[in-house]
Symmetry: C2
Subunit: 418 residues, 2 copies
Amino acid sequence: MTNFLTVKTAEEVLALIEGFEPLAPERVGLHGAVGRILAEAITAPESVPHFNRALMDGFAVRARDTFGASESQPALLRDGGEVKMGEACVPEGLPGNAIAIPTGAMVPAGTDSVVMIEYTSRLDSESIEVMKPVAPGENILLAGEDIQAGQPVFSTGHFLRPQDIGVLAVLGIDSVKVYCKPRVAILSTGDEIVPVSTIALPPGKIRDINSYTLAAQVLEVGAITGTIEVVGDDLDCLVAACRRALADHDVILISGGSSVGVRDLTVLALDSLAEADLLVHGVAVRPGKPTILARAGRKILWGLPGHPISAMTICRTFVLPCLYSLQGLKGKPAWKDAGAERAVLTRKLPSVHGRTDYVPVVLRETPEGLAATPVFGKSAMIGALARSDGYIVIDRHVEGLDAGAEVRVHLFHANLGR
Amino acid sequence: MTNFLTVKTAEEVLALIEGFEPLAPERVGLHGAVGRILAEAITAPESVPHFNRALMDGFAVRARDTFGASESQPALLRDGGEVKMGEACVPEGLPGNAIAIPTGAMVPAGTDSVVMIEYTSRLDSESIEVMKPVAPGENILLAGEDIQAGQPVFSTGHFLRPQDIGVLAVLGIDSVKVYCKPRVAILSTGDEIVPVSTIALPPGKIRDINSYTLAAQVLEVGAITGTIEVVGDDLDCLVAACRRALADHDVILISGGSSVGVRDLTVLALDSLAEADLLVHGVAVRPGKPTILARAGRKILWGLPGHPISAMTICRTFVLPCLYSLQGLKGKPAWKDAGAERAVLTRKLPSVHGRTDYVPVVLRETPEGLAATPVFGKSAMIGALARSDGYIVIDRHVEGLDAGAEVRVHLFHANLGR
């Protein structure tokens, strides 16, 4: 087992993660494709629309026949028949004709625009008055105007949003190749940890938190939770649990036991797994410095701190990007801090040069805008995290932030209610 | 059937939606509770932690015994034994004693602080040197310091985030009452609509888009999709499909047929459902003005525009908040635009006083910050929406925006990669 025991920066760990190869691809139907990441590039097999489409209810005409038309001097056109919705057989647009057409129907050959019904009036069974001129192309979606046949539509590694599913649907692509969802095992270690169902809590014991918080976080990025287990502070038990989990999971999260102390079991357990390579042992962040990252073949093992706030912070900062990387996500937007709010810090926050800090804050509306107040809590306090609205990042090049500094607050559940 | 045919503002429609009663509650286990909304208030049944907990590996001491200690003048303490992880039976902290303790273990009675192991040194089998003084309470999480027994923790209507699940876990609450997920039926209407699996697309026909985009959007807020069906432009068929869907869904989305034209079928269909009350017919927004909202008993029916961009915009703006309202969400944060980015508009955008506009934009990094360029596309263009990164809202009190205006861009999938 190779050991790199120098502490890495957050950026170095993220760069390592970005280099992880994605899992195998699988084919899914369109209704199951939202939130998945493409394992193939998509080229448009045909144009959309594949015929000139009316965008309004009205009359298809030749634009030149409406030239100069007005309320007082309407253009007089002949009734040229009617286009039926969804039908290909349409009357030809002869000069001087107006053909009734509903929104979405096929614009007849010989016509080049649609007059909205509001600007027309039927004079008699054979004549239509047009009160407003139209320009060629007006109220028409031209064949191929939305998507051209042969056009590259999505590249490999693209995250499929609802509108992207719509594009695949309109192109007749009813299934796509996406990368498999990572299967994640969660091992919560510590002799003090007892199951949540424990009713009378013995002194010295604490109920399992990390299994629940980590499982909930993992679901946010579309991964699947498999084994979720509490393991005592026993090397053999931990090694055995890791081996079992490696058999049918892609990622193993081990919380607890990662600090440099008497209970430094995670590293010892990884040492006993012959095939595991220790990639990271220690990251210049707070909380979560004793984070461990190892690889066994293509399986990934994370050693997370035992304190709940630390474990959640490291999960959000490194494990979730890792789970996206294993799903093949490419080309994150440059504004990848998406879901952040600008706010003003209400008090000074000291930090240390060379270390990235993650600080939970509460947001409050003020007449001057949003105010962010740090939630001071020790990293073992889960309640403190529940009382906060998001967190701020203090860059490792910065020695702290003054009261009044503008900060970006990364919101917990930014997608809520949008 | 009561008809209110005056166009409502977006705010009026949202106020109506907020008044909808939530669905029935159900009980779920903790692993299924993330993203759900509480149908009960939670009070802490016990304190967290329920004993004084060590936050560091080291020695539990009486702070006064370390007073004045330094590297050159260490305090000399007696070896007072050891606290075992997760055990209640701990040695008593006699004056002048130092008791070895691991992180997370129970701090012995008689001691009031923990000296980090880094600042200690074992002199011999009976003596420990302490090189740094500690203050009372240092490196200890006091009983009840995180959560006090009897403290209100969450109120009814609270959205459960991962850290909230952690709080429930630590309190031993292994299941909670949450509001049921709405079951949503999606009816895509129009004679021109053919299934996505149609290979050779006849002229005049277009594949079903809205079923896919609406289903994908609905999943984002934790609702369940049930029946998804294409219905032709036939009143009897649409009424029959509505009746079938009403039987086992909470919400029905009908896309298409909602514009004032020959095919105004949705309103006619709702008219034929004796029990339906038309609450909204027309909203002062663009796109999506002909939106319909009706209620049949406690079931909700939405008539959405047929054009894909319009249907998605109305779904995001009104249907998703409606689905949250049915799930009992209360107390949205004041910064409910969460997931927005500030950017500078690259060109003038005209609008109309009294109407709220939703305009898709592409974001680009520039040396001066993010630039937002409107994606001009007709509302039938799904490809245009897929090419955009988010959208901006032009308030109804504003007559348009100038180039260079600062705008908030609501990102599609703001939670991506965080």
